[in-house]
Amino acid sequence: MKKDWTRIGRIASIVVVLAVAAVAPLVLTGGVAQNLAVLSILYAVVASNWDLTLGYAGIFNFAHVAFFGIGSYVAAIATLQFGVPVWLDLILAVVVVVAVGGLVSALALRLRGIYVALVTFALTQLCVALINSAKDITGGPVGLIGVPDLEIRGFELGSEPHAYFYAAEVLLILSTIAMRWLATSHFGLSLVALRDYEAYAVGRGIPARRQRVLAIMASSIPTSLAGCLYAHYLIVASPDVFSFSLTTLLLSMVLVGGAGTIYGPIVAAIVLTVGTEGLHQLGNIRYMIVAVLIVLTLRFLPGGLWSLWTLVPAIRRRRAARVPSPFAEEASS
């Protein structure tokens, strides 16, 4: 009997999500709502993919924002400066980001945790420096304006009011499916083993560095695509995308949503994007609130909001068999 219920529950939730996804763009009319929706979905892609490496795999990866930003800049530069056909820049962005991500993480992951954080962080700042120095190509601190509309087989997304919304949703759904598949695969389990019991996992023959580099590269694919969409949608590529503030906002989505849960950051991304935009008039205080949220979450609810599901007894029993997040109390051994 129980088995039937969980299967029904899972199928039901998938149906609900797809239904909402299909209907939402038609319901949320009005520029502001549409805008918020697209942005929050793109951030959800970025945040959940960051969670894959930071939360799920426990890698001290602080270059993730760079993947997003590089994706947007490759899209902008390729189409604006080099006249690359507008759908090709997507592929180009993925290739560039995966290559850069793979290279930097292969080098950085030779070191222990804290150094990985520093080097990956430095990469993000390096991107800003590069953008500011190669002004002619990148538009410098001002950024590039006039990124052409995303075009697929001649269909311009900008011409149809809901097109970008659907495109973003498709990206989020595909990305989540991919991540769920990864997480439940041998590869995903090896990542968790490396996170919690590294010496043992390595002793059992799991190649630590290779798995982690692959995880970073995998997570960078949807992220770079999100960056492309971002550039095409906003028609602008700016260095703000590499800023400390955005990093903090995305970090808060990962933590508040629930590090290591993948789904949690998605929900948190939507809530926090809407929240911070809604509190627009507070200006800088918004970021102070986000910062306080991060510390409070780490202190009092380390598993994030998603861990609140464990309040439901049926779910707690199921989750006891699953993998705990790196910040939940049980993970420390």
């Binding site: 945790g113 962080f121 430095a122 420096a129 970021y287 306080v292 420390s332």
Partner: protein
């Protein structure tokens, strides 16, 4: 050439002060304080607000002393709120990175709210220029060049002769043994944070006298400090200081010959290069 060397020495001196603070905390507490850059900035603002006629107008002397006293308190607060609750937990390293990132965003925006984003200036401690060996340099630059090594030597004496300084090193090397000597570990943590915060504050005040102060003035020095500690190795104070001057020099030469915009790229390439050859940094320890 003289100007380049001066610039390198000044940068090196400031980076040494900043990186030394980070290294001390890492050694004793085993965590990395991302909020260090913001501490630098807050020290500068504290000095400004106390000394400037737009603030309390109490003059530079009181401004500096007051700011440094404030840094001790701020260091304690950062420790209490952002570090202490996670010390000893399995994920302490990663958690403290995140809490201190959050803390730096909080403080930065707080300062932005209170003081606004426009640049301010602190009075220089010494004004005018000095001619040395054919080069004219700002007196404040000379002050920095001389003061930093003096402070670093003072710190070395503190760590090798002073009861608390020795205890800081002991806690970094073997916490159990330190406790069995009667050392109160929490007190040492607080002392380490206080010293680190004061060093950051000094760097901020010196930097503020050379350039303008702004809420994000701590970001670049912090990032340079990242490169320095990876370069010189986090566990080693001598390595960190050597690394700081090396990075300062590289930066100065690179800025002159390659240009100021490409210098961060050069530094990053140097960093990656060092890591390929020596994964633990110049003098770092494997653990």
């Amino acid at each position: 050439m003289g100007a380049i060397i001066v610039s390198g020495l000044v940068s090196g001196a400031l980076y040494a002060l900043v990186a030394a603070g980070l290294s001390l905390i890492w050694g004793s507490l085993g965590v990395f304080n991302f909020a260090h850059g913001v501490l630098l900035m807050t020290g500068a603002y504290a000095a400004w607000w106390l000394s400037s006629p737009d603030g309390l107008g109490l003059g530079l002397g009181i401004g500096i002393v007051g700011a440094l006293a404030f840094m001790v308190v701020l260091g304690f607060v950062v420790y209490l709120l952002l570090v202490r609750p996670w010390i000893g937990k399995a994920n302490a390293e990663l958690a403290v990175i995140m809490t201190t990132i959050a803390g730096s965003i909080f403080l930065q925006n707080l300062i932005l709210e209170i003081f606004g984003g426009r640049y301010k200036t602190i009075d220089q401690v010494v004004t005018g220029t000095v001619a040395i060996g054919g080069t004219t340099i700002q007196a404040q630059n000379l002050l920095v060049i001389i003061l930093a090594p003096v402070l670093l030597i003072a710190m070395w004496l503190f760590l090798t002769r002073n009861r608390t300084g020795l205890a800081i090193r002991a806690v970094a090397q073997n916490q159990d043994a330190a406790q069995l000597f009667g050392i109160g570990v929490e007190r040492i943590y607080i002392a380490t944070f206080a010293v680190s915060a004061v060093l950051a504050g000094v760097a901020g005040i010196l930097l503020g006298g050379l350039f303008n102060i702004s809420p994000d003035m701590g970001t670049d020095p912090l990032l340079r400090a990242f490169v320095v500690v990876v370069f010189g190795g986090l566990g080693s104070l001598p390595g960190t200081i050597l690394g700081a001057y090396a990075i300062g020099m590289i930066e100065a030469f690179s800025s002159y010959y390659i240009g100021i915009y490409w210098t961060p790229v050069v530094l990053f390439v140097v960093l990656i290069g060092v890591l390929v050859v020596r994964p633990t940094g110049l003098m770092g320890r494997p653990t």
